[in-house]
Symmetry: C2
C-alpha cells in the first residue's frame, strides 16, 4: 500500500482542506493518506478550536486514513522545528511521499531553493546578509540570493511557502527517503480573514466568523457537513469552542504569580521579554489588549502568542531541550484502510506505534502533552474540566469504519 | 501613649473579637490598640473571606487604632513562625504589651510553661520524647513533662493555647521588651462550627453559616453592624465572598501543569507529598474532595490547605528562606488616635513604617505579598480580577476619623 503524508492542524477542517486531500489523492495515487496533526495547541500559539479527538473525526470523515499526533514540543514552534518533527514522524510511519499546499504550487521551486540553500550555503548566506544590510526584508533578500545563484526564487513572504520550504529542508537534513509534492492553495490565503470565495475560506476566517456570529450555521458554506457536525457536538458537550480569551485569566494568574526567574525558564522567553510581560499584565483585561501592549517589532504577535502558550502550558527550555527528536508515533484515529495499512507495516516502523496514552507516561514529549492538555481543559468549570482532561489520556484512538461517512 | 498589641485575622470580625478588644482595653488601659493582621491568606491556609482592606475597616470601626499587615511569609505558617513574625512586628511598632485570647485564660501558666521550655529544654524534651514513645499525643506528653518539672501544665490540645504559647516563646526567644496578657475566650471554641451562644460564634461558624445560607443577615446576631456592612459592600462590589472552592480551578491547573520537581520547590512540600498531590488532582472536582483524598495521618487538613495555598501563590522554599525576618511595618489603616501615636513614635521605630506599597517593590516579603494578592484576585472574572489586584498596591491606608463609628 502506498502511504502519503500530509501535515495538518484542521482548526477547523474546511473545504480548502478537503480540496487539498482530493488533489493529494489524485496527484499521488495514495492508497493510505496519513495526517500528522497538532494537538491542543497550534503552530501559531493558539488553542485549537475543538479537541484533537473532534478534529481527528473531522479528518477521518473527510478522507484521511490515519491521524497521528504531532507532539506539543514540535507543534507549537516556528517553521523549522515544526517541520522537522512532522516529516520525521511521517517517515517513521512509512510515508515515502509528502504532499503540502503552498502559494507557489511549484515543487521544482522548493527543490531548487533547498538545493541552493544546502549546497551553496555560504554564498547564499552572504548574499542574504548583504541584502538584509541594504534594508531588504528577509523574504526579498532570500529571493534575490536565489536569483543570483541561478535558482528559482521562492517567495518566502507567503506563509505556506515558508512551511513547505521547511518541510523540504527537513527531508534533506534528515536524509529521509521521502518525495515532496505541492498543490497550489486555492482562493483564500492563509491569513486571509475575509471570506470572498463562495465555498472556500481560510481556517482563520472560519474562526473569525464563528467568533463574531456565535453561529455554527454561519460557516456551513465553508465547512463539510461532517466537520460542522463535530463542531456542533463539541459545543453541545462543552458549552463553547476554544479561543485565547478563554485562557487569559489562567495566563494572567500565571504571569503574576511567577517570578521573572521562573519566566526565564520558559521556552521562548529571551532578551528580557519577561520584563515586558510582567510590566503589562496587571493592567490588561483581555488577551488581545495584553499582546497589543507587549508587541514590538522584534516580538511579533505570533511569537508572543507562542511564548504565552508555553507559559500557559509550562513548557520549559529544559523540557524543550529534552524533546529534540520524536520518540513515539501516537495514533489518534484510523479508517478501515488505515487499520489494514498499520497491520501490514507495524513490525517495521522506526518508532513505537502507541494507541494507549498510558504507555507514554514518563516520556518527556508525552509529559508535556499532558501539561498542554491540562491547560487546555483548565478553562472549563468543573465537572467539564475533569472530563476534558480525562479525554487526553483515556480516549482510545478513533476507529472510523466508513459507515459514518456521508 | 501606651500601645498594646493584638494578633488577629478577623475572618470576619465578630462579637467575640469585640469582646476581646473591650477586655484588652479594660485589662491594659491601652491608649492605642494595635492589630497585626494577616492579609489575603490566613494561618490555616485559607483565603480571607473578604480583602485586607474590608477587614481593616471592620477592625477600625470596632476599636482598633492601628492595623499593620502580617506578611504572607509569616501569616500562612504553623504557630511558631506565625508568632515570631507577629510579635516582632508589634515590638517594632512600639508595643510593650501584648494581649491574646486563650482557652486557658491564665498568663502564669503560659509564662511558667515557657520558662520551663527555655530553661530546662533538655529534660523537657527528653520527658516529651519518652511520653511520645509511650504512644501519648504531643499535647498530653507536653503536659506530663511540665507537671514532672513542676510547671503548670498548659493544655496544648487547645488551638489558642498553642498560639499563645508560641507568642510567649517568641517574646522570650527574641528578648523583646514586651509583657504578655491573656483573656479567656468566651463561649465558642476556635474550631466550633455550631452556634449555640445567642451573640457569640467563632469565625469558622460565621463562615459556615454564610456558606450554607448565602445570606448575610443570617450572621447578624454574631457580627457587629459595621462588620456586616463591610461584608455587604464587598459582596456588592465583587459579587461574592471568598472561599477555597473558588480557587480550586487555579490550584488544579497549577498542580497539573507543574512537574514534581517544580512542586518540590514549593514551601511545605516535603516527604514525597508531591506524588500524592499529582496522583489525586486529575480526578478531583472540588477542593474538599481533593484534600480528603490526599489527607493522611501525617498530612493533616490544615497542613495540606497551607501547602495548597503555597502552591496557589507560588511561595517557594527559596522565598521562604529569604523571608526570615520582618523588614518593614506596612500600615493598612489607622484611627485618629492611631495617627497621633504614629506621629509621636515614627522617628524611633525599629523598622521602616510604610504607607505606600510601591515603596516595597523588590522586598522579598512584599514580592510574595503581591503574588498572594494576584492569586487572591485571579478567581474573579475581568474586570474584577484587575480591580481586586490593583487594590493590593494602589490602596492608601484606611483613615478612620471615628465619625464613621456607629
Amino acid at each position: 500500500m502506498k502511504a502519503v503524508g500530509v501535515i495538518v492542524e484542521y482548526n477547523p477542517f474546511h473545504n480548502g482542506h478537503l480540496h487539498h486531500l482530493q488533489e493529494t489523492r489524485r496527484k499521488t495515487n495514495a492508497d493510505c493518506l496519513i495526517a500528522v496533526m497538532s494537538g491542543n495547541f497550534l503552530q501559531r500559539g493558539e488553542p485549537a478550536i475543538v479537541s484533537k479527538w473532534a478534529r481527528t473525526k473531522m479528518a477521518l470523515a473527510s478522507g484521511i486514513d490515519i491521524v497521528i499526533e504531532l507532539p506539543y514540543a514540535f507543534a507549537v514552534q516556528a517553521a523549522e522545528r515544526f517541520a522537522s518533527g512532522a516529516v520525521r514522524l511521517l517517515a517513521a510511519i512509512g510515508c515515502r511521499e509528502l504532499c503540502f499546499g503552498s502559494e507557489s504550487g511549484d515543487i521544482a521551486a522548493f527543490l531548487s531553493a533547498a538545493d541552493t540553500w544546502s549546497e551553496q550555503q555560504e554564498p547564499f548566506d552572504s548574499l542574504v546578509r548583504a541584502e538584509l544590510a541594504r534594508g531588504q526584508s528577509f523574504p526579498r533578500a532570500a529571493a534575490a540570493a536565489w536569483q543570483a545563484l541561478g535558482a528559482a526564487p521562492l517567495d518566502l513572504s507567503k506563509p505556506n511557502n515558508v512551511l513547505g520550504f521547511a518541510y523540504v529542508k527537513a527531508i534533506r537534513q534528515h536524509a529521509l527517503p521521502m518525495t515532496p509534492h505541492t498543490i497550489p492553495r486555492r482562493a483564500a490565503g492563509y491569513h486571509d480573514e475575509s471570506a470572498s470565495h463562495p465555498s472556500i475560506a481560510s481556517a482563520t476566517s472560519v474562526r473569525k466568523i464563528l467568533r463574531q456570529t456565535g453561529q455554527l450555521e454561519a460557516v456551513a458554506a465553508y465547512v463539510p457537513a461532517a466537520a460542522l457536525d463535530q463542531l456542533r457536538q463539541y459545543q453541545e458537550t462543552y458549552g463553547r469552542l476554544h479561543d485565547w480569551e478563554m485562557y487569559f485569566p489562567l495566563l494572567k494568574y500565571r504571569l503574576l504569580t511567577a517570578t521573572e526567574a521562573d519566566l526565564r525558564r520558559i521556552a521562548g522567553v529571551e532578551e528580557g521579554i519577561e520584563h515586558r510581560l510582567k510590566q503589562h499584565i496587571a493592567a490588561a483585561e483581555t488577551f488581545a489588549a495584553f499582546i497589543a501592549a507587549v508587541k514590538t517589532k522584534r516580538y511579533t504577535w505570533t511569537r508572543l502568542q507562542r511564548l504565552c502558550t508555553h507559559v500557559l502550558t509550562h513548557f520549559t527550555k529544559e523540557a524543550q531541550s529534552e524533546a529534540a527528536d520524536p520518540t513515539y508515533i501516537r495514533l489518534l484515529g484510523m479508517s478501515e484502510t488505515g487499520r489494514r495499512y498499520l497491520q501490514q507495516v507495524k513490525k517495521q516502523l522506526a518508532l513505537p506505534l502507541v494507541a494507549k496514552a498510558a504507555k507514554l507516561n514518563g516520556d518527556p514529549l508525552y509529559e508535556q502533552e499532558k501539561r498542554a492538555a491540562a491547560a487546555y481543559a483548565a478553562a472549563f468549570p468543573e465537572p467539564l474540566a475533569s472530563r476534558a482532561f480525562r479525554e487526553e489520556y483515556a480516549t482510545a484512538p478513533i476507529y472510523f469504519s466508513g459507515m459514518e461517512r456521508k
